[in-house]
Structure formats: C-alpha cells, structure tokens
Symmetry: C2
Subunit: 753 residues, 2 copies
C-alpha cells in the first residue's frame, strides 16, 4: 500500500530504533561455494539499469490501473509477457473478489451554514495523467458500508482509542454523531472501527496539512506535498481480523470457493466512511464550536480547532456497487536445479489506486530489473539451486487481495516449500529500510554490506547504522550500534503483501525499500504519477537500482545457499527484548493506575477542574494484577541455548550435501513453528505468535501480540493464558532448532557434547 | 510588564516545577503576638471588594496612559489623591527619562512582490476604548535605534542563540539581512540583540498565531485571543545589562543627574526593530523560498515556512523622537509605630502601553484594595509596627523606569531600611503564582495557606500543590510535593519592578499573582482593555480580591512580625539544588561535545548529509574541562549548618523585645549578603550572585548566574573564578546568619552549644 510502511516518517524511525537492542551477530558460513556464487553475484549487481526502471514506470503508470480496470488487466498481461521474455515460466492466476466501487458519494454541511464538499481532485497543468479523469477511481474508502446519515459533527483528532479517552475526560460523547478524524497515528481502517465502537453513525477522514500538506513543504505542483484538494483514498477493511477477499476468509477466492453472505462479513466497516481533502474539510471543522481542542489535537489549518458536537450538522452518503471483480496475479518461476521443491518467493503488487507511480510501481520496476537480470544470468548458464518465484500481485490496495488469496489457495504448498518471502511496495531516495523475521537479521545485514549508496559511497548498511547513531535517543542505543556494527531489522506489522506469508503461514519474510530523504504528499491520490516521481522522488532511479540489487541479491543468496541462512541468536535476543517490553508495559500500566487512583483520592482532579472548562474526573480503576511471567522466563533460556548451539554448529563449516535436504527442511520447520493453528484470540487467521499487526493500530506491529494486546486491553486471565501458550511455542521452536543442530552435529563428531 | 511573568504558559509551569526539589520546612514562631494580629488579619482579609476592583480598573484604563501621556499624569494624580484619602502619606516622585516615541515607521516587501505592512490595529465594534486612536501609542519596540535599511529577509524562528546554531548547520548566514523572528521563547529584546551579533541589519518581530493567535483559541472579539491585526508592543532595551533610564545607569534620573551621551548608551539596540501582527507578517514569510524551515520552526500561518534569505527583500524604517519625558511614581507611606526605620515595600506599575486593563491595572487595583483596607484598619486603631510603603510605578513598560530610578535614587536608604519588596503586575483567574527570594519560601507558604480559592474552596496553597502533583513530570517530584505539603517559590528573573530591588540592591523580594485558567492574546495591544478583561479574564474580580488578600496579608505579616520571617533551610536547600544543576550542566555539555566529536570522527555527518538538502557538518569542538567545584561543595555545608542552627534558634520562641532591632538588622543584612558590589561579569549593575535574568533569556532567570552563564558561554576560567566568588559569598552569608543566631542564642542559654 505504500513505501512508507518501510520508510515513512520520524515516528516510524523512532519506533524502529526503539524496537531494537541486544542484537547478536555470530560468525556463520556465508556461502559454501563462495567463489562461483560470488561471480554470479557480482554480475547480477551490475545489471539493474536506471533507464529501464524509468521506462517501465512510465509504461505501468501511464493510466489508472485499479482492480477491475482495463489497464490493470493490460498491465498484468504485459507483465506476463515481459517475465516470460526473461525466461520465467509465467502465468496469471486469477481470483474473483468482492470489490465495492463508489456509485454515490455526498458530503454536505447543513448547519449552521451550507457547504457541499467537492470530493474532486483537480487536474494539474503539465501533469498529463492527472487529466485522465474518466478512468480515475473517485476518492473513497473501500469496504465502507453503504449509508445515508445526517448528524451533528464531532472532531476526534486521529480517532484512535487515546483520543476517545480524552473525549471522555471532556465529557463529550460521539454517540449518534458523525466524526471527523485526521489521517495519521493509526492505519485508516482503525478510525471508523473505533468510532463505531463509540456509537458514531458516520466517519469522515481528512488529510490535515500538518501531517500531509503545506505544513510539511511546498505543495504540488510547486513542491512535492499534498495540495489543498488532494485526497487519500484507501481501504478501511478490518484487516487486523483478516485481510483478503471478505467473502472467502482462509481460502482462495476461486470461482467455486464457498463464500459467506455479504451481510455477515466481519471486515466491512460498521458505519459509512468517506475521505476528503483539507480543502473540503476546512468548512466542516470551522463550523464546530466549543470546546477548543487540546493543543496536540490542533492541525495546520488556519482556524481554531474545536471539538463540538455541533452546531455543525452533516449529511454523509456513501453507496457502492458491490460487484465481484477478477484480480490477476502474475506468477513467474525459475525452477531450481538442486532443490526444486524449495521456493524463494519475491513479490510487489502491480495494482494502484490511480496511476500509482510511487505506490507500487517504483517497487515493481525494481522487481522487474531483478527478473531481467536473472534472465540474463540464465542465458549465461546460471541455474538457481532453489526454485525462484516472482510475483506481481493484484488488488493489494483494497486489502492485500491478490497475495492473500494466492497464499490461501496455495497454503499447503507454501508451508511445505516456501523458504522465505521477500516483499517490496514502492521505493524512494535515502536509507535502506529493512524489516522482517529476525532469523534473517544477520542474513540481511550481510546483504546490505554489499550494496553501496550512490550518494555517499558507503555500504547501505553502514549508512543506515550511522543514521541510527545520529538519531539514537540514548547513549545505550548508540553503544550497541557502535559495538555490534549492525543494523536491526524492524518487526513486520501489516500494510503490504508479506502479511499472509508471515502472519498466516509463518513463512520467514522480509520487506525492503529505500527512503527517508524525500517526502511528499501524493499518497493514494491522482498525483502519484510519473510526472511527480520524476520531479520529486528518486529522480535518477539510482535507488531503484539499489532496491533491485538489494532484493535481488537476497533472492540469489537464499536460492543458492547450501544451508538456509537462518540464524537464531538474533531472534532469541529480540524475543527476549519483547518479553522485557511486555513486562514493562504491565508495570507501567500498574504504576499509572496506582498514581491516578492516588490523585483521585487526594482530590487532584477536583482541585484542578476549571468551572469554565469542564473536565470529567476519572473513576478509580482496578489496579492490574501481577501476572505469572515465569513460563516465558523459563522458555527464553531454552530458546537462547538452542540458538547458540545451532549457530555454533552451522559455523563449523562444510556439511555433507546428502544431509542438507533434511537440515533445510528442519530449518523451514523452525520458521513455521512461530505459528499456532488456533491463531490469535478473536482472530484465528493470524497464526504467528511473534508478529502481528495491532488490532487497534492496523499497520503497526504488535510483537508477542497475544500477550501484549491482552495486557493493553486489560484481559488479565487471557494474558496469563497467552503467556503460557507463547512459552510452549518458543519451547517447541527450540526443540526444532535442537533437532536441526543434531543433524549437523552428526556430521561433525567433534561438536558433540 | 505582564502577569505572565508570573503565570504565563505551560513551559513556565514546567520550568517552575523543575526548579524545585528538596524543599525544607521547619517549624518557626509564626507571629509572636498571634491573638491580636490574627484579629487584624481576619478583618483585613474581609475587606477587598470586587465592585471596587472593577470600578478602579474602569477608571484607570479608561484612556491610553503610556509614559508622557496626559492620562498617565492624570492617573498618577488620581492615585495620589486616592492613597492620601486612605490615610497614606502620599507624594509623587518624578524622574526625567529618555523616552523614544515613534515618529516614522515603515515596513515594505519590495521583492519578489510588493506589500506594505499596515502597522495598524483596527477598531473593534463594541469595544469603546479600541477606538481611542488619537491617544494610542502606535505599535513599536521602544529603544530600537533609528534606522532605514533595505535587505534580503531571513526567517530565524524565535531568534534565540539555538536558532542561529541551526542556521549555521544549514549553511545560512543573516549577515547583511533583515531577520524576521516570532515572539516567544525569550524576552523580545534578546531577538534584535542576537540578530545584530550575527550581522543582521534589521529585525522584525511578529506574533505567530501558533503562540499567540487563532491556534490557541477564538480570536478577539469572538474570543480572548490575538486577532489577525493585533500587535505586541514592547521594550527592546538591553535590560539584562541594566534596566531603567539608559542615560543614567546606577543613579536616579533626577533633573540634575549626570547623563551619558545618547550615542554611548549600551542598552539601545544595535539595529532597528519593529513588531508586527501576524496579518502583516504573512506576506513577508510567504515570500521566502528555500529551504523549508525545520519542523519546530513552523508556526500556524497557512503557509509553508521557509528560511530564505530571499527572494523576499524588505525595506524597514524606524524613526523615533528621542525626547526626555517626566515619569511619576506615586509613593505612599504608613509610618511604622515600633520600627519606623524598617520598611515593607509593595508595588505595581500604573503606566501601560495603551489602556492596559490586564497589564498592569488588574494588579494595581488589587494593590489599591490592600491600601483601602489598611486605611480602614488605621481608622480602627491599627498601626503597623514597621513602615509600609505602597508604590505605583510609572514607566515600567519601557524598561522598569519608575522602579529602577526610584531604587537607584534611594539605594542607600533602601539597603538600610527595606525589609522586603512585594511586587505584582497584573492578575487573572486560576492558581497562585509566587516567586521570590527563597528565604521567604516558608513565609509565603504560610500566607498562601490562609487564602481560599473561590472556585474550589481549597487554600490557594493546597490547590497549587495539587496542580503541581498533576503536572509533575516524574515520581520523585510528586513524592516531594506529597511529603512536604509545600509549594516551592519560583526564582525571579526580570520583566517587572522587583528587578532593581532583588538584583541591584539585594532586598528580599516576592512577585505574586493569579492565573493559569484563562489565556488570551491582547498583551501590549490596544485590545488589553476593560471590555476584554470583563468578558474573558477574572470577570467577577474574585481573583482580584484574592491577590489583594494574598499580597496584603504578606505585607501585614512582614510589617507586624517581631522577628522578620526569613528562614534559611529552604534557601540553602534551593542553592544546593542550583549547584547540582550547574554541575550537571557542565557534565551534559561535556557529554554532548564528546559525543558530537565522536560522530564527526566516525563519519556520521557526512553519511547522513542529503545532497539535495545541504547541511554543514559541525566542527570538532574543544571538550569542556573539569572545573573545580570544591569551593562551592565546601561552602554548602557551612551554609546548611548555619541555616539549621538559625531556624532551630528562632523556633525556640519569645525573644527579648530589646534584642529584636539588632536581630532584625542582621536578618536584613543576611539578605543583602547575596549581593556583591562588583556585580556580575560584564554587567556590574546586577549584583545578586544567586538570581539574575539571563543575558540571553531576558526575563528568564539564571540562578547562580555568574557560574551558570560562564559555563553556558564556555568561559572556563571565568567559571572557576565565579565558583570561588560564589563560595566566598555563601560563606559570608553563613557568617551573617551565624551572628544572628548568636544574638538569639544569647537570649536562650539552653540553646547554646
């Protein structure tokens, strides 16, 4: 859905840094047949070409190509032909999915003055594709239910749970109201979900210029940022419950698949939702009266931000076609020469909201350059040891449709054969962003050491490490970065096509992309096009080359490694840190409630209440109990020991080729062992017990999600159950690792204890 | 100059809280003849009257009354008559001061488009005094030099030293440019001072709506906040060098005083300065181009904030009359019955920039209610033991003229006779703000215990304590507030009439006022008038009554106490905390430089530099040396011991009346012993070694200023000198305290060791 799931903005950077401590790198046998492999690697790295990236972007983004559009289908066919021409065995796999397109949209202020929102993005002169209005999908939020409501308006800031706590303190209810929320701080689908949970009957989401407009920089076409009338489209499907076709959870949406009735879909919104520009939002916000919104609720519009409700009264109407459309995934293979049943899967989506030059084409064209390079290597006689599968997904924007349906359809095969999945979703200028399963952390660091930043000449790993030293919030983080000379992987939440692979199937996954040096405000608007990208993003495609090098080298090494390059000490250290975090989370919750209860008792809230600005004093809350973390504390050393033992054994060097298939099979199993068939509480589709998108963050990751979210939601009994379950799962994983080590040690009698 | 020097905004609150830790309260004999005194106190507290406050405000703010205006003189005469009618021996003391009034003001954008700033505040319907345009002093910055310059424009954020460091990193120089800075983060006079130090040739200061306009709340007349065309006038005299008449530093500006030539005045600005509204500022800021200003440089105007320089080019002209004007301080006395040579001085200024209902009249009318109440008590037979001196100062706005000249003129008498000075400068609704010499901390806590908040019924002390618990940034601060049941005094910087008393003479001082529940944006504009105050501030004058009660009770207790109510443990604990702060400051500076040097060495700055957004890498800096804090560390226990011994001795109870004059004389000396005749480095007028306004903050206090500023400015040798000097001064103070204790112990043989 966007590059910025990889490299968005400072908050992400900070979170990224916070997610890390205690990285451990151990020496391990990089690639057993280094000399020949390194020749191919070197040749591969020289192949990605800027002109080709630019040419392909121009072609693929030449017309709007959303699901069901003519150009979407045309692109899929073109991609099939192109990948075939590179020597891939290519086919289109199609699914039939529920796809609502807007039929009627209306948003009017009816009191105290009248204003009708334009809901239109104007053509920009000198931007030819912005004028393709006949083919553009109008601005809307996909999977909003239909609705026609009139109600008082309330401003709810970002519309996240914290904001509703603030509203409660101010004595304001949104029950029976239409809320207006600004984009940001959560994935957009969270906003109508939380609003509906609080009784709202409609939801408007707008791009505030503070986060996405003139506050950030000069607006398009003068600059890169969102103009007054630019709108962010986007899905509001409840993807943290399950992504993909709402009618076919858990199974591929083939023509014959069993479908649940539309009225029973849990992932549609409960209230109608519509996105608007800040130009359209301003008259609505301006019509709200008392009270003045708190400091950090105020955006950059030139108005005093008020909350309401009223006197503003709003009429909102959304009506969609609820058609079934065919989506077309392009799937291209190079069969493996040695281990054809071990697959390395690489993907990027090809569909867009409109022209989508940045999202997703800037990532897709890098993928195509990798494929072109592999085609050349094939012609020179190279054959990968493992099967390589290149995928161009359709329907990502609406809800990860193409990748999810394909993963569900091929779930058994993928769990049996897929070694890893490598995703990208757009690209820009700047630093490497790399997130994924931490058993691949050491591997990715080694890859990133080989890629050189065109601006500084440094390896992209080193540049990233130095950036992190500069950004580090405390001396301890800096010390770690200096001592370990390594860069941590971020943890994957959701928001792109890796979701089904890592969260549903448990396949080790990576998400890669460059960014951080250019911002912009064209996300999911008609202005995300070639004209914009060539003026304001990776204008020379130097970083497009880098992404092709980075992801391609990752594929190459995964495909050609004798022993799959998973290592476990980084993983176990990372999980150990996550355990510290959830323990700290509980302690902080307890301290916070104890303190608040104390303040209630000593009269702080009545003392500071201002009769002219009413605040509702909070109620005394139950103090969180102490939880039994012992099972986890006991499991961690078991995992740690197994990890150390494996990493030491694999480092011992050459292994009997005859033993490799079994070792590699066990390694693949070790990854799958992060999942549990029953899934997470209330959302069984999500089976990974280490990584998941948050129920109330949407894209944002919750690591150890069962435990963490139970604590966040104050489900104490469930938290204890989840602790025990996670501990058991980590112990199981340790035992798979031990079995793998056993196989290696059998080849090295000197290692045996 | 403004109430908000007492109770301004959150940053102040936070700083206030941070300034505090380790308060110590010891029991001490509150008032020896409690029964009779308490009868007078009770009676006094019942007297301040809301109608009278309102009536007096309306009268005093009925017309513009700046220095030299007819109504300023009329008010002085009226105050003299009023205070006389209350039974005070009242006179007007006049001084002849340099007073520049604007003759010509011009501000034009000349490139890339033309715009002429209006420099006018429009009349507001239903606000009668806003229409008194013939009498209003135009918007300007007093003591700006004359100038007529044309130059490229540069936006410098708040124009404080940190901002120029950022400009340096961005490779931007202001040399030969006109800078535009927003109000805030420093006293306004700092902005042209720092700009000139960096080579700027002119300075525009504007009120950004982020700090002072629609971002904060609805604007006047709909709401309380600064309208688009509202301008903040104000002095830009370099008051941290010395306040008062620029021509007569250190001596009263009597007709015959020796004056320095105008051309040699060090406290005039070096470049012309003009304040403008945000309406006028917007076209100028909008005309700036690259680069985009950093996040925290951006205000609330609906534009992308750029820095420049250029293409905006500006013409700025300022020309003032440089006349001598007469200022009229109203001085009213009630002679003391027992100790007529010990004076309790209370003041608030009467001049304003325009009508000044809030600043200063809301404080002055409270002072008048105190005086009226004392008049009634006099008629009932009460006579204060000490002489009470009530002062209504003139010329405060331009540079603390009236209070400074009077203090300089009567310096010897004041150092000999003044027990304490109690200031106010405006008032509002909310919490008590109390700052001052920490030897009065315990005293003020006791006073604030007696005053009851009309909204909550709590004592104002308790309400303030609970607010601080709510606002406290960390558990340690909350623990202190809970255990000690006390509220710390803030430290005094500058910005109102206490400056000459505490900083030049060393007389124990307090600054009092209520606020924090209402904001507003009429400061130093034509809209600070009765209409505004009655609609948006302390509308019922309930807090006006409270200020009269608080300041009046402080005067009453100081006047009637047998032993002056100074205590020393709070003071020594506070100074000890300040010493910790300056040691920490040095350590932080060292850590910061060591880290930055390390980052330079490892290539962080070259790695993160973005070729499209140039940043200049910093140079390697000299690492601050370790300084010898031993003299201070040795002096602190001496002071602590003397303080404990005194507080214990004075707590022992009744003292021989015959011994009191000597004891009290020594107590007064103990306060004066905070000063040193040589003053602070480079600014000898500032003689207090514990408290001073910062050279680069203006109003903001720098405690232990000699040491702290030497460290901040990296003058290491001077820092060591100042440490030794401060240590010697604290030791001298301890010895004065010991002498006092000796006198008391002589009366209590059981206390002697």
């Amino acid at each position: 859905m966007r590059l910025s799931t990889i490299w968005p903005t400072k908050p992400f950077l900070i979170a990224f840094c916070m997610l890390w401590s205690g990285l451990m790198f151990i020496p391990y046998a990089e690639a057993q047949s280094l000399s020949q492999d390194s020749v191919w690697e070197k040749e591969f790295l020289g192949m990605p070409n800027a002109d080709s990236l630019s040419f392909h972007m121009k072609k693929l983004s030449a017309r709007p190509h959303h699901v069901g559009s003519a150009y979407d289908r045309e692109n899929a066919e073109w991609l099939r032909a192109l990948l075939s021409s590179y020597g891939f065995d290519t086919r289109i796999e199609s699914f039939d999915v529920l796809f609502p397109a807007p039929v009627e949209r209306a948003l009017e202020l009816v009191e105290p003055v009248r204003y009708t929102a334009s809901l239109r993005e104007p053509v920009v002169p000198d931007d030819p594709t912005s004028a393709q209005q006949d083919e553009q999908l109008p601005s809307y939020n996909a999977y909003s239910i239909d609705g026609d409501v009139s109600a008082p308006l309330v401003y709810v800031n970002f519309g996240i749970p914290d904001d509703y706590e603030e509203l409660e303190r101010l004595g304001i209810s949104v029950k029976g109201c239409i809320v207006i929320a600004r984009y940001g701080r959560s994935w957009r689908g969270i906003k109508p979900k939380v609003a509906a949970e609080h009784g709202a009957v409609g939801c408007i989401i707008y791009s505030d210029p503070h986060e996405d407009g003139f506050f950030e920089g000069d607006v398009y076409p003068q600059g890169a940022w969102r103009p007054r009338e630019g709108v962010q489209r986007g899905s509001v499907m409840d993807m943290p419950v399950y992504p993909g076709d709402p009618l076919t959870p858990g199974v591929g949406a083939t023509r014959s698949a069993r479908r649940i009735p539309l009225g029973e879909c849990p992932t549609l919104t409960k209230i109608p939702v519509l996105p608007v520009s800040y130009g359209d939002a301003q008259p609505f916000l301006q019509a709200l009266a008392v009270p003045v919104a708190p400091d950090d609720w105020r955006g950059a519009l030139p108005i005093t931000y008020h909350i309401g409700p009223g006197p503003a009264r709003v009429h909102l109407k959304v009506k969609c076609s609820w058609d079934t459309k065919t989506i077309n995934d392009v799937i291209a293979r190079i069969p493996g020469k040695v281990y054809p049943d071990e697959w390395v899967v690489r993907g990027n989506h090809h569909d867009a909201w409109v022209n989508g030059a940045e999202d997703p084409i800037s990532g897709l064209v890098a993928l195509l350059e990798e494929a072109r390079a592999f085609g050349s290597l094939l012609r020179e006689g190279w054959r990968p040891k493992r099967t390589i599968v290149y995928c161009a997904w359709d329907g990502e924007e609406e809800g990860l449709l193409g990748s999810t349906e394909w993963s569900e359809q091929h779930a058994d095969d993928l769990r049996r054969h897929a070694v890893a999945y490598i995703n990208s979703d757009g690209n820009g200028r700047g630093y490497i962003g790399m997130a994924g399963t931490h058993t691949l952390e050491h591997f990715m660091n080694k890859v990133a050491e080989e890629i050189h930043d065109p601006e500084t000449g440094l390896s992209v790993l080193e540049r990233s490490r130095l950036r992190r030293i500069s950004d580090a919030g405390n001396p301890e983080d800096r010390k770690q970065l200096r001592e370990k000379k390594a860069v941590p992987l971020g943890a994957l939440g959701s928001g792109s096509d890796y979701t089904a692979f890592i969260d549903h199937l448990g396949i080790a996954s990576l998400n890669l992309g460059y960014g951080g040096e250019d911002g912009g405000g064209i996300y999911h608007s008609i202005y995300d096009d070639y004209s914009w990208y060539k003026r304001f993003s990776d204008t020379s495609f130097a970083y497009g080359r880098l992404l092709a090098q980075t992801a391609g080298l990752s594929v190459l090494r995964l495909a050609d490694a004798d022993i799959l390059p998973f290592t476990f000490q980084n993983f176990s250290a990372t999980v150990s840190r996550y355990v510290d975090e959830v323990e700290k989370l509980l302690k902080e919750k307890r301290d916070e409630i104890v303190e608040r209860n104390a303040q209630i008792a000593e009269g702080v809230f009545t003392a500071i209440s201002d009769p002219k600005h009413l605040q509702v004093p909070p109620h005394v809350s139950e103090v969180p109990p102490y939880l039994n973390f012992a099972p986890l504390e006991n499991a961690l050393p078991v995992l740690k020991k197994a990890s150390e033992r494996y990493d030491q054994a694999v480092g011992a060097g050459f292994h009997d080729p005859g033993a490799l298939p079994k070792i590699n099979r066990l390694l693949m199993e070790s990854q799958l062992s992060m999942t549990d068939r029953d899934g997470l509480p209330g959302r069984p589709w999500f089976r990974n017990l280490i990584y998941a998108p948050g129920l109330y963050t949407g894209y944002g990751v919750k690591t150890l999600p069962g435990v963490r979210e139970a604590i966040e939601q104050k489900h104490w009994a469930e938290a204890e159950t989840q602790i025990a379950r996670l501990a058991a799962q980590l112990t199981r994983m340790a035992s798979v690792i031990d079995s793998t080590t056993g196989e290696i040690e059998a080849l090295h009698p000197e290692l045996k204890r």
